[in-house]
Symmetry: C2
Subunit: 348 residues, 2 copies
């Protein structure tokens, strides 16, 4: 969306939402009107990747398997920790050789509901995303041929890939690894947040501060970018639409989606952050430099809306955002296949 269109959308949002206190039912109606949606309790299978219990179980093993990394130390769960909100709570992740990644690790929870993956949307879906960190030199630092050799060296993986991808002559492939991980990640949905309960009709699911926060969230125009089931993650916007944040929050060398499209209009453009479980995923922004959710709200007000959101208002909005914390998936920690003499040795 261009800057002028976005500004128009924000004005429209401001017009659509009133500034006066609304009843609970009015609040629900407004929220639905501006595109805030309850989170489905399950997500559909993804393009070109029919799901099955076998595929999900395989994907869970792969997600937790550090042997997908060259070192044998780093798994998907290292940076997308299912016990800490689906991310790692670091400014930017630590990867192979203790290198720091360039951007904050986004949560894997509800990622299936995003329009595309990564901060710049360079992966169209989760299976495309899954191939990135495995190969990134600053993350898992592995090569597809090495990953496939590792997986093929363990008979149990061979059997599990065959069951997850029936009828394929050579089921242990890098593509199928990514598809299995996607199938598991599709299950990482956190329904039943207080906001969802409220939208389903339970007035008391939000306290008065959270309701005021919801109203402010709509009134100030936050929902222009943060909408849909994932309260964001649906489209790309310039960070610093009105006023560019400082270099600590918006480092000049990271031009965001420009790296994907090479279009000048995409300089410093990022995917609007999905705000589900945002209270669990500090620090904030692609740079991971802001630890306080209230402060993040105030920065967004100034940068995107040209608005001064004072401390009390930011507190209310942050309280509402806390009502987007849902029920995390229950995950049995998997027992992983046994290595054999032909398993490539860890390289570290």
């Amino acid at each position: 969306m261009s800057k002028s269109l976005l500004a128009l959308a924000i004005i429209a949002a401001l017009t659509a939402t009133g500034a006066t206190a609304a009843t609970d039912q009015e609040l629900r109606t407004k929220a639905a009107a501006v595109g805030l949606q309850p989170l489905p309790s399950t997500a559909p299978a993804q393009r070109d990747n029919p799901t099955s219990a076998e595929k999900i179980a395989l994907g869970k093993m792969l997600f937790f398997d550090p042997r997908l990394s060259a070192s044998g130390v780093i798994s998907c769960n290292t940076c997308h920790n299912l016990g800490t909100g689906g991310d790692d709570n670091l400014p930017t992740s630590i990867g192979h050789g203790w290198q720091r990644g360039p951007r904050n690790s986004p949560t894997v929870f509800n990622a299936v509901f995003n329009k595309a993956q990564f901060w710049d949307g360079r992966a169209e879906d989760l299976k495309a995303q899954a191939k990135g960190p495995v190969q990134a030199g600053v993350e898992m630092n592995n090569r597809p041929t090495q990953v496939v050799a590792t997986l093929k060296s363990m008979p149990e993986y061979g059997e599990r890939f065959a069951r997850a991808f029936p009828g394929e002559a050579d089921p242990v492939t890098f593509d199928n690894m990514a598809k299995a991980i996607e199938a598991f990640e599709v299950t990482l949905v956190t329904p039943n947040a207080p906001f969802d309960q409220f939208m389903a009709g339970t007035d008391a699911a939000l306290n008065s501060e959270q309701k005021e926060g919801l109203e402010l969230f709509m009134q100030r125009g936050c929902t222009s970018c943060h909408n849909g089931a994932n309260v964001g993650g649906q489209a790309y916007f310039p960070f610093g639409l009105i006023k560019r944040p400082g270099a600590d929050v918006l480092p000049p060398e990271d031009k965001g989606r420009f790296a994907v499209t090479k279009s000048a209009s995409d300089e410093y453009v990022f995917r609007a952050a999905p705000l589900r479980n945002v209270a669990l995923t500090a620090p904030y922004f692609h740079s991971g430099q802001v630890w306080d959710l209230k402060q993040a709200v105030a920065i967004m007000g100034a940068a995107q809306l040209g608005a001064t959101i004072d401390d009390a208002e930011a507190g209310k909005i942050a309280a509402f955002l806390g009502a987007l914390t849902g029920t995390p998936p229950k995950v049995d920690y998997p027992q992983l296949p046994l290595e054999t003499a032909t398993t490539p040795r860890p390289q570290y």
Copy 2:
């Protein structure tokens, strides 16, 4: 045990066990006579640490919590991965700053049955052990005051420590952290291995190769050091009793238990490795330089028994050792407490 006493013990073992093929019942009787014991399905609570469901649940959270490390990246489970045999399958572990630790990470499974913890037995029990890696500069690189500050910053931990240590005025302590981790680790027992089933009377639980391997394991004197419920882990012995292995396997700078006792007789003395689940925990020895279990068996034969164990015999013994793989504990991956504004930031 001194070298001469150990040599006598081996001779006694050789006398006690015959070289002829035994019936299944004879094999069981012999195995029991040389001190091989079935693994109990549960372990008792430990000294000065009564157990409770609350304490175990807290310990599980701490075990998986990377925020016990200074960086916020490394948890107990990083090097004692419950999905890969309770260890990390690396020669020596990677820790803070991508440093390599000095010794191979031992499995946490059944560690409660060891006489003492670490390769040199320098921790008398699991709660003493748990404090080590948290503070080691090459591992989690944290300080007790920082760990306690981290835990106290999260209200859910405060509540959980209070429930796990009822009646204590200040329950969130470094000691109690270690006690909770111990309480969880006491549950990490892997009963019902084929060997245990065999000892309980199921002849078919071991195949003929494994039975021959068991017989060889006793006949050659392996059980002089590897006995008890954990098939090892009960006493200290010089590595290289008869013939010192090469510097790759026994690096001269690591003098083992000498560092604990400062007694010259403890140079290159190590705790006999517990062999439960040994098929899951390559690479082998404190140096982690041997990947093949058969090769490890042959090295032990030469180093400890002065015996040449040929490839066929090593294969049989390795097959028997494979029958020591038990049923791993089922572990639900825990949801960890939420950080707050006062939680110390990751240092990395």
